[in-house]
C-alpha cells in the first residue's frame, strides 16, 4: 500500500533541527520525497509499523506533529500532480 507521511518538526532550538534531520533520514530510507516534508512510501503493513516506531522514537510529541495518510493499493487514482519536480511511480517499470 502507498502511505503518505508528512511531518512538522519544531526547529526553534538546535535539538529540533537534529530531530528534523533524523526524521527525514528515516523517511528517505523508506520512500520518495515528493515535497519538502512530504514522503510517499510503498510499504507493507509490517514495514509501516517499523517506520512508525522509528519515527516515534525521534519525535517530541509536545512540539512536533506527524500525519500518516493511507492511500491503499489503488492509490494511482488518488494522486494528482502539477508543476515542477519529477517523481517516479514505484510500481511502474524502473529503468534508469
Amino acid at each position: 500500500m502507498l502511505v503518505l507521511i508528512t511531518y512538522d518538526v519544531n526547529t526553534q532550538d538546535a535539538q529540533g533541527s537534529r530531530r528534523l534531520r533524523k526524521v527525514s533520514k528515516v523517511c528517505v530510507n523508506y520512500g520518495q520525497r515528493v515535497q519538502n516534508s512530504v514522503f510517499e512510501c510503498l510499504l507493507s503493513p509490517a514495514e509501516l509499523c517499523v517506520v512508525k516506531s522509528q519515527l516515534f522514537s525521534i519525535l517530541d510529541g509536545t512540539k512536533d506533529s506527524l500525519r500518516i495518510y493511507n492511500l491503499g493499493n489503488s492509490y494511482k487514482t488518488r494522486i494528482e500532480h502539477y508543476g515542477a519536480k519529477q517523481t517516479y511511480s514505484p510500481e511502474e517499470p524502473m529503468i534508469f
Binding site: 533520514k25 517516479y88 529503468i95
Partner: protein, 343 residues
C-alpha cells in the same frame, strides 16, 4: 505468499550504483539519476560497465536482494551472492537426488513433459487466435506429436531417451515458430536458433529473454534454499546453474517465447531497435533494450491462475512458486514434483 516487488534495471552504460542509508542511488557523471529505497525492490539488474559500490553489494547480500551484472547485450557477467541461506538438510537431500539417477529422472520427467505440454499450448493458442492466417493442419500435426512426446516423456526410462525426446520435440516446435510471427515479417523472420551471438532479430530477443528468465530462476531457487547449480537434467559444469536451467524449461514457451511473439506481433518492438555488430551478431540498441525491459516488467505483473495452487499469481512470481514446490517435493512434503502446466 511472497509479494512481487519491482526490479530495478540500470541500462545507462556509465551509471554507478551506490548505497546511501537504505537507498540505492544511481549516479551518472556526478549527477543523481535516481534514488530508491532498497525495500521496494526485489533485485537490481545492471547492464552498465562501471558497477556498484561494495557497500551496496553488502546490503543486497544481507537483505537477500539479487544484484546481477550483465553485459549491455544482456549476457550474464556476475552476480553478488552473500551467505548461503536456507537449510543444509534441504540442500543435502537435493544433492542426494542429483546424484541418484532414478530420483533425478523422476523430477526431470515431470519438467520435460510439462515443457512439451506448454509448447503445445502455445501452438494451440496460436491456432485458436489466428486460425485464418496460419497453416492449421501443420500446427495440428505438430501439436499431436508434442502431445505424444509429452506422454512419452512422462514415462521415459532414462535421461538419454528424455534428452532425445526433448530435442526432437523442440525441433518440431521451432519449425513452426516462424509461422507464428504474423507482423513485421520483413524484419522478423525466424530461420533457426542461433546464439553467441544471435544472428537475427528474433534470436536476439529470444536470447535476451531467456537470459532474464534464467536470473529469475536462480534467485527463486536460492531464495527457497536450493542450490541452483546442482541440476537433475542439465549436465553440471562449473559456473552453470543447472537446476535453474532445469526449471526454466517449463517457462520457456509460455513465458519467454510468447513474450517475444507478442512484442513482435503487437509491433511494440521494431527493426529500428536493433544494431548489427561487426561479427554479424545482432544486439538491441539502448532504446530497444528499454522498450524490451518495460514490456518485460509489464508481463511479469500480469496475473494467471496457478493450476496447482489454485491461486492467482503474477507471471513474475512463477519461478518462485515452482522453486517452492520443488523444495517441498525434495523435503518429502509432496509425492511428486508438480511442474507448471500452462492452460
Amino acid at each position: 505468499m511472497k509479494k512481487l516487488l519491482n526490479t530495478l534495471y540500470v541500462t545507462t552504460e556509465n551509471a554507478y550504483l551506490a548505497l546511501d542509508g537504505e537507498n540505492v542511488v544511481i549516479q551518472c557523471e556526478g549527477e543523481t539519476l535516481g534514488r530508491l529505497p532498497i525495500h521496494m525492490i526485489d533485485g537490481i539488474m545492471a547492464f552498465g560497465y562501471i558497477g556498484a559500490s561494495p557497500a551496496l553489494m553488502g546490503k543486497c547480500a544481507e537483505m537477500n536482494k539479487s544484484l546481477v551484472f550483465l553485459k549491455p547485450s544482456g549476457r550474464f557477467l556476475a552476480k553478488v551472492t552473500g551467505k548461503s541461506y536456507g537449510n543444509i538438510l534441504l540442500r543435502r537431500s537435493q544433492y542426494r537426488i542429483c546424484d541418484h539417477e532414478e530420483q533425478s529422472l523422476a523430477i526431470a520427467r515431470n519438467i520435460i513433459s510439462a515443457k512439451l505440454a506448454n509448447s503445445n499450448a502455445v501452438l494451440s493458442r496460436a491456432m485458436r487466435d489466428h486460425a485464418l492466417r496460419i497453416d492449421t493442419e501443420k500446427f495440428a500435426r505438430i501439436g499431436e506429436a508434442l502431445q505424444k512426446g509429452k506422454v512419452n516423456a512422462y514415462h521415459a526410462q532414462s535421461a538419454e531417451s528424455l534428452r532425445g525426446l526433448e530435442g526432437e520435440c523442440a525441433n518440431l516446435y521451432f519449425s513452426v515458430f516462424d509461422d507464428m510471427i504474423l507482423q513485421q515479417k520483413e524484419d522478423f523472420s525466424y530461420r533457426g536458433r542461433s546464439r553467441r551471438p544471435p544472428m537475427d532479430y528474433v534470436n536476439a530477443m529470444l536470447s535476451f529473454s531467456y537470459s532474464l528468465l534464467t536470473s529469475m530462476c536462480v534467485s527463486a531457487l536460492e531464495s527457497v534454499g536450493l542450490d541452483a547449480y546442482a541440476g537433475v537434467f542439465h549436465t553440471e559444469r562449473p559456473g552453470r546453474c543447472s537446476l535453474a536451467l532445469d526449471i526454466l524449461e517449463e517457462f520457456r514457451a509460455p513465458f519467454a517465447d510468447r513474450f517475444v511473439l507478442t512484442a513482435i506481433n503487437k509491433k511494440s518492438i521494431c527493426g529500428k531497435d536493433f544494431v548489427e555488430k561487426e561479427n554479424g551478431g545482432i544486439l538491441l540498441t539502448e532504446d530497444g533494450r528499454k522498450k524490451f525491459l518495460t514490456l518485460w516488467q509489464q508481463k511479469k505483473k500480469e496475473e494467471l491462475m496457478h493450476p496447482f495452487l489454485q491461486e492467482k499469481v503474477e507471471w513474475g512470481l512463477l519461478p518462485y512458486v515452482q522453486a517452492m514446490l520443488l523444495a517441498k517435493y525434495i523435503r518429502g512434503d509432496l509425492d511428486e514434483y508438480p511442474p507448471f502446466i500452462w492452460r
